[in-house]
Amino acid sequence: MANTTVDPLLEDITGPTPGQMLRRRVFGHQGLIIGAVVVAVLLVIALLAPVLAPHDPYVQNLAMRMKPPVFLGGTWEHPLGTDHLGRDYLSRLIYGARVSLLIGVVAATISGAIGTAMGVAAGYFGGRVDAVVTFLVNVRLAMPVVLVALAVVAILGGSLTVVIVVLGLLLWDRFAVVMRASTRQVRRREYVAAAQAIGASTPRILLTEIMPNVLNNLIVVVTLEMAHAILLEATLSFLGLGVQPPTPSWGLMVSEGKNMMLFEPWLVLIPGAVLFVLVLAINLMGDGLRDVTAPENRS
């Protein structure tokens, strides 16, 4: 062998570690960062609502009805004005963040538990279990969510708990579909066969071999379903069959403002815009997580 030229590609071998590359991808991903920051800010606002809200969100003051926000000529006493019952709009918005986030987190947890159990079982055991789960997903998809949720909430009576439970019991379909697909993928890997070969029990394999490897997909679906649940709650409340007044829900605020929309459009615009921003931020976070954890699956 004579002289060897220096291969410029070789220099890359001493490049970034996988951890560095992940961090680089995370911080290079604008959507993920923007989404996460917005969600974090809204989360802090929701947690600190009693400290941050300038007024009690339930106290009515009929003498101070529908005062405009400061940017429309109002006063700093009520920065975002007051609603048709004279309640401080900013305070109601802040407490509304609690309702939305609570519903998102709890409903996604319930549906996530149901859907993940079904999906992992279907993907791991296959055969009959798979057929039954696939059938149940088909049945669930055939039922119109808004309609069923409205009907059930109407029958059981609208309250925060009922809305959360109903949404939790309805939104498991995507969890089941995604978890089934990713479990099937992981199940074929050699390390699962290796665990079986050394006689690990099925629950142990599911817990230590399957779950850690489908976790990133699960997190992505959790975020997307949180957004879905938040939107649905707002829709139900808007239609008057979700969270009941006087609870400050953003959907309910849009619904209450609707009648005055002709003269005071900000009553509708503000809560809707906040809802839009929260859902957008959660979706950006979810999409970002998917891109970052599985760059090869980017669509």
Binding site: A2, N3, T5
Partner: protein, 332 residues
């Protein structure tokens, strides 16, 4: 009929990659007369396929192609408008690809895909195009050609699909056919059969063909001219008889040692191998790229490499004017 149909001088292909520019093909020259078969040989990654796709104008915009000259029957291929290129492609020059399994559109019948080029380029009726398609399917050895037209690609075996691809390339009687390893994806048993068919048809119709292959056995049987590529350069080129009779470049000789030759290779004798791997072509490439694997490498291999022409058409690029033939004789 010895007019030059394709004339390529200094063809260069650069691909922008993460760490700079990949100089995939660097200044290659060759020409082709009507009715001639030129075989381009070389291992994977030597730039054979890129060269053919560049001539057809099928490389993406990202990849930069330049040349002092790349003329097809008077048309400068690299300067031609997309519209001019479209009117050449499929009509006067056509291509047969490596992968018959994926090169046919799954959504359309064989007949539709065969007739497409002819309906696009020639003023013919569907009936005429159909008749031509049936005729060609029979020529490429497909029985019951008429009923095959209504079938979809997934209903055909790989061998049949490649026959269809060949017929498709011949539809408009092109003057030049580029076949990019047309048989590598097929079973060994039908490779020779399909290749012979292709060569016979090309000869019969008097077309010129560029056959890209790494199978030297094939080259020896069908080529009029041979061009040996290594890592983006043409290291040796010339009439097939001359190149095979007196290979000059160390790489060509290495390649020839890798195949058994009846009467020359002793029974049971080990076949040759070329040690080492192809170097990276990212960044500046200077000197002879084969020097890292060459037994004859010397210090001057890092500098400018001269071209020597022992025969009228035969030439090679090496610092050794004789290609260091002595060592070759010792080996045989």
């Amino acid at each position: 009929m010895s007019e030059t149909i394709l004339n390529v001088k200094g063809l260069t292909i650069d691909i922008p990659v993460g760490g700079g520019t990949l100089h995939a093909v660097r200044g290659i020259d060759f020409d082709l007369k009507r009715g001639e078969v030129l075989c381009i040989v070389g291992e994977s990654g030597s730039g054979k396929s890129l060269t053919s796709l560049a001539l057809m104008g099928l490389l993406g915009k990202r990849i930069k192609v330049s040349a002092e000259q790349a003329d097809f029957d008077g048309t400068a291929l690299l300067q031609a408008s997309p519209r001019e290129m479209r009117s050449l492609r499929g009509a006067r020059m056509s291509m047969i690809f490596q992968e018959p399994m994926t090169s046919l559109n799954p959504a359309y019948t064989i007949g539709d895909q065969l007739m497409e080029a002819m309906l696009l380029h020639r003023q013919v009726s569907r009936a005429e195009a159909r008749a031509r398609a049936v005729d060609l399917l029979e020529k490429v050895g497909i029985t019951a050609a008429g009923s095959r037209l209504g079938q979809y690609p997934h209903q055909l075996s790989g061998g049949l699909r490649q026959r269809v691809m060949i017929a498709m390339a011949l539809m408009c009687e092109p003057e030049l056919i580029i076949a990019d390893e047309p048989t590598t994806a097929l079973d060994v048993t039908i490779q020779a059969q399909i290749l012979r068919l292709l060569v016979d048809l090309v000869r019969e119709m008097g077309m010129a063909m560029i056959l890209i292959t790494h199978d030297l056995g094939v080259v020896a049987r069908v080529a009029d001219k041979v061009a040996v590529m290594y890592a983006g350069e043409l290291v040796e080129t010339g009439a097939a008889a001359e190149v095979f009779g007196a290979p000059m470049h160390p790489y060509t000789r290495g390649l020839l040692r890798c195949i058994p030759q009846p009467g020359k290779t002793a029974r049971g004798a080990p076949l040759g191998t070329i040690p080492g791997i192809v170097p990276s072509l990212v960044g500046e490439v200077a000197g002879c790229v084969f020097r890292t694997r060459c037994d004859e490498a010397v210090e001057t291999c890092r500098g400018r490499i001269p071209r020597h022409g022992p025969g009228e058409t035969h030439s090679f690029r090496c610092v050794h004017e004789t290609g260091a033939k002595a060592t070759e004789k010792e080996r045989v």
